[in-house]
């Protein structure tokens, strides 16, 4: 070995560095995957139907039969948590996808072409941003009526703006790069320049934002359900569990409220770890 070059531990050192640098990413992935796995395997993890009432055994504490006790209608809390997570997580992820796609495409088009398209879309975005997020979503759901599809539509109508703005800014940076000009001199169509040259360079920021957007969506869905505007009962859902459990707090039955709250917190924490870790991993070195 040459004495002039410092010795390195090769693969091991770089692996360790990766682990330390992205500890949050791995922790986040672990948490989220665990939550998703538990929610997916709900039928195997509990033998109780989350909506089946057992009025003889209401408000019970922890027991061998009911892992986390029962609620005011005698429903098993553990199985309600699992099945409730199904509804919340599915809707939250689905409601990220549509605004992600819409916002990214619109943002790239605005940033690439500028001109009147840009002005038009960005003014619409300004209008959307002018209202507080929750106020807008809640009033939209109020207008559209309860239920999964109206939550999905309401969130999509509001949160595409963030993606559009992020991607637009990034696109304007990339657009001024010479390789875009080089592609133009090759006679490549604008559509192909956007999909093949712009997207791969700008999508990172949108992906990182999407992680925190899922958290935001979970918050919105839980909040809406809390207000009775969300997922229609009897489908179990964390927000409704919190709001229904509230009235029994005074009687000392904390688990009805706190357990779904903890579920929300753990899931959000996991997603935000992933977001942070991804931001670090995918950061474009400029």
């Amino acid at each position: 070995m040459s004495t002039l070059t410092p010795t390195r531990n090769g693969v091991f050192s770089s692996l360790r560095k990766l682990h330390i640098n992205n500890f949050r990413l791995y922790l986040g992935i672990f948490i989220v995957l665990t939550v998703i796995a538990m929610v997916m395997m709900a039928p195997y993890l509990t033998k109780f139907d989350p909506i089946e009432q057992d009025l003889m055994n209401t408000l019970q504490g922890r027991s061998a039969k009911h892992f986390l006790g029962t609620d005011n209608l005698g429903r098993d809390i553990w199985s309600r948590l699992l099945y409730g997570g199904r509804a919340d997580l599915f809707l939250a992820s689905a409601a990220v996808l549509a605004p992600f796609i819409i916002g990214t495409i619109l943002g790239a088009i605005c940033g690439y072409f500028s001109g009147w398209v840009d002005t038009l879309v960005m003014r619409i975005a300004d209008v959307v941003v002018a209202f507080p997020f929750y106020v807008l979503v809640i009033s939209l759901v109020f207008i559209l009526g309860n239920g999964v599809s109206s939550i999905f539509i309401a969130i999509s109508l509001v949160s595409w703006v963030a993606y559009a703005r992020i991607v637009r800014g990034e696109t304007m940076i990339v657009r001024s790069k010479e390789f875009i000009e080089a592609a133009q001199t090759g006679g490549i169509s604008n559509r192909k320049i956007i999909t093949r040259h712009i997207f791969p360079n700008v999508i990172t920021q949108a992906v990182v934002y999407a992680m925190s957007d899922i958290i935001l969506n979970i918050g919105v869905i839980v909040t809406l359900s809390y207000f009775g505007l969300g997922i229609i009962p009897p489908t179990p859902d964390w927000g409704r569990m919190i709001s229904e459990g509230q009235q029994f707090l005074a009687g000392g039955y904390y688990s009805l409220t706190i357990l779904p709250a903890i579920a929300v917190i753990i899931t959000s924490l996991g997603l935000s770890f992933i977001g942070d870790g991804l931001a670090q991993l995918l950061r474009v070195k400029r």
Binding site: F179, E181, Q184, G187, I188, K192, R196
Partner: protein, 319 residues
Amino acid sequence: MTTANILEVKDLQIVARIAGHDYIAIDNISFSVAQGRARGLVGESGSGKSLTLRAIMGLLPSNVRVTSGSIKFHGKELLADKGKYRKEILGTGISMVFQEPSVALNPVMKIGKQITDSLVQHSDLNRQQARERAIDLMNQVGIRDPHKRVDDYPFQLSGGMKQRIMIAAAIACGPELILCDEPTTALDVTIQAQIIDLFKNLRKDLNVSLLYVTHDIGVVAELCDSISVMYSGRIIEQADDINKVFSNPNHAYTKALLGAIPRIDGPIQRLKGLENTAPSLTQRSQELAPPMKEIEPGWEIAQFDFADLNQLQRATSHE
């Protein structure tokens, strides 16, 4: 000249809008590139040579526009119909090699894909055929082990290799004319020589015409057969035969430029620098443009005639 002109620029005027004022950046320049020949466009920084290339390619910044003149490719106007015809021939008829290969390649796209990007756009090659074509092209521009290299990303290549990739991409669709925007300026001298050799070979093998922009008059001497010297947004001397200009420059500026390059023949002497810098865009005189005079067929210089001298005096007395 018996061969037809592949590119003909006539009375091209380009105006830049800076802080609300219009300034003439390119003032009535005319030149042409003959089929299979190479024209060097030389001049110092800011003389408008890159802007001219960009005008041909339709890559002008938003505050710069062509106000008059024509750019014809094979006799068809490129500026007409919002550049509709230009869109058809970009890549297949004209292509371009940029100055800085490290920013002219997409950092997140495999080089093989970038080489055939425009080819795939203009033909119906499938993925496998495009890949093989990319390997062929990489062979042609002198990249070793193209089979292994085809899936590399730009950051894995050296500057010279990147420029070879750019050239491979430029010749992918078999264009008749390649515009070169100082393609060797960002490279060191040995690589520069290799790239110039590559251009020479391509000219021979593909019979491609070049419009070569550079401030290095030595490169032009080696590669081109005609020359246009630009100064302050105007062409001040041009000849279809480059040797005439080199052996007997007529314009004072051309003389000064040639005096500024070291020669290995002839007596040893101090190199002369240029006396003054060119006026900046906002300070240029817009009225005092000496007209182009043909001093012999295929050789023009910008010069006031004695008949024009009165006019000149009148113009200066106004100031």
